[in-house]
Subunit: 232 residues, 2 copies
């Protein structure tokens, strides 16, 4: 019963949101044993992290680590700095919710863990279409980070490869939701809102809520999101 031998390992970034939940389900569906990685980086919505914990109970993983990051000390974003308000109108350009170098920091840790557990893939649920204007969600960025992976690691030096996999990169929110529903993802467990309440209620008005709402409409799937009374 040596089933583990032929199964590949993947480190999967799991924020607790809709995209990363789908990403985890896709990694499992591709046959990977998954190592889920979450970050506590001073984001406003701590209910997002609770959601990550519930998700990795609902979708089986080998291990789930939550790494505490000191990004609030660096500052510069509405997501980590409580003095900057979350915008509720559609913004142009790169929004104030952009956290400087966030995906680069996340992927660096994922890379470190991938080396330690000898994973051959890193899954990240970045999305280019609904990317909200973040530069570190673009395909060119992912390609550049893959090159860093190849050159940075003992694995790379020894001829191995750690693939950076972005299964959602060119899907619409509706397509992502359809893929997840097919794989049985419980979206009621996920939290996407930038300013969700402690109990996980969504505001319904921030960029992230707007994309999510439109996604369920597009997928013709009933929206299981729990909105706060104030939202419309």
């Amino acid at each position: 019963m040596n089933l583990e031998v032929n199964r590949n390992k993947a480190v999967v970034l799991v924020s607790g949101g809709l995209d990363s939940a789908t990403c985890l389900a896709l990694a499992k569906d591709a046959g990977y044993s998954c190592y889920a990685l979450s970050f506590d980086y001073g984001q406003r919505a701590s209910s997002e992290l609770k959601a990550a914990g519930q998700l990795t109970s609902s979708i089986e993983v080998i291990e789930h680590k939550t790494v505490k990051l000191d990004m609030g000390q660096i500052g510069g974003s509405a997501l980590t700095d409580k003095d900057i308000a979350i915008p509720e109108q559609k913004s142009t350009g790169i929004p104030i919710t952009y956290v400087p170098a966030r995906n680069t920091v996340f992927l660096s840790y994922a890379l470190a863990w991938a080396e330690v557990v000898a994973a051959d893939a890193i899954y990240i649920g970045v999305n280019f279409l609904d990317y909200s204007g973040y530069p570190d969600c673009r395909p060119a960025y992912i390609k550049a980070f893959q090159n860093v992976i190849n050159l940075a690691t003992k694995t790379g030096v020894e001829g191995g490869i750690i693939n950076l996999v972005t299964p959602l990169i060119d899907l619409t929110k509706g397509e992502i939701i359809k893929a997840g529903v097919r794989l049985g993802v419980e979206y009621s467990l996920t939290v996407s809102c930038y300013q969700a309440t402690e109990g996980g209620l969504a505001c319904g008005r921030c960029d992230s809520c707007r994309f999510r709402k439109q996604g369920f409409q597009e997928a013709r799937v009933e929206d299981p999101t729990r909105y706060s009374d104030k939202s419309t």
Copy 2:
């Protein structure tokens, strides 16, 4: 007296060792206003961090931040895992003191801070010749990370550049020391040893001590390192 206007800003990685001390002096000498960045990542030698603090008192910086990293949780290195012994013989290949993805994690934070303070350079004291076999000290790696910088950031999207500067990359340890002495670096304040005592005494036997000793010999500069009695 608007002297600040024309001065450029650099984020400089300062570990408290000989290389990063020289790197900081070189960044200052190049006219940069420096933002020193250190990491508390569970490294054995906490005296290294004390040294970083003393250095940034000795070489004037705008600000010195020490970011706490949760790398011990990721594991996999003799520098962060107390159950793995520091080797005292010269090793072949990539040594066990290699911390998976360490420079990638460090540079990610440096990049985040560089965006926030609008720096146009990041200085890192990596060295290829004496690089101890670490893959993330090679020129090809630095080039790959520069590409990530260009694509990851709001600065990059808006047409700006944050240059990744590696002034020590092809210098011998002796050349590094000569450059530092010329700029008045107080090497007695620096700690390079992988297993220095709380008080900053060096073992004299680990890879890092060996390179440092040879460097002072090569530079014909008196070695100001405080060795523990046990070292030869």
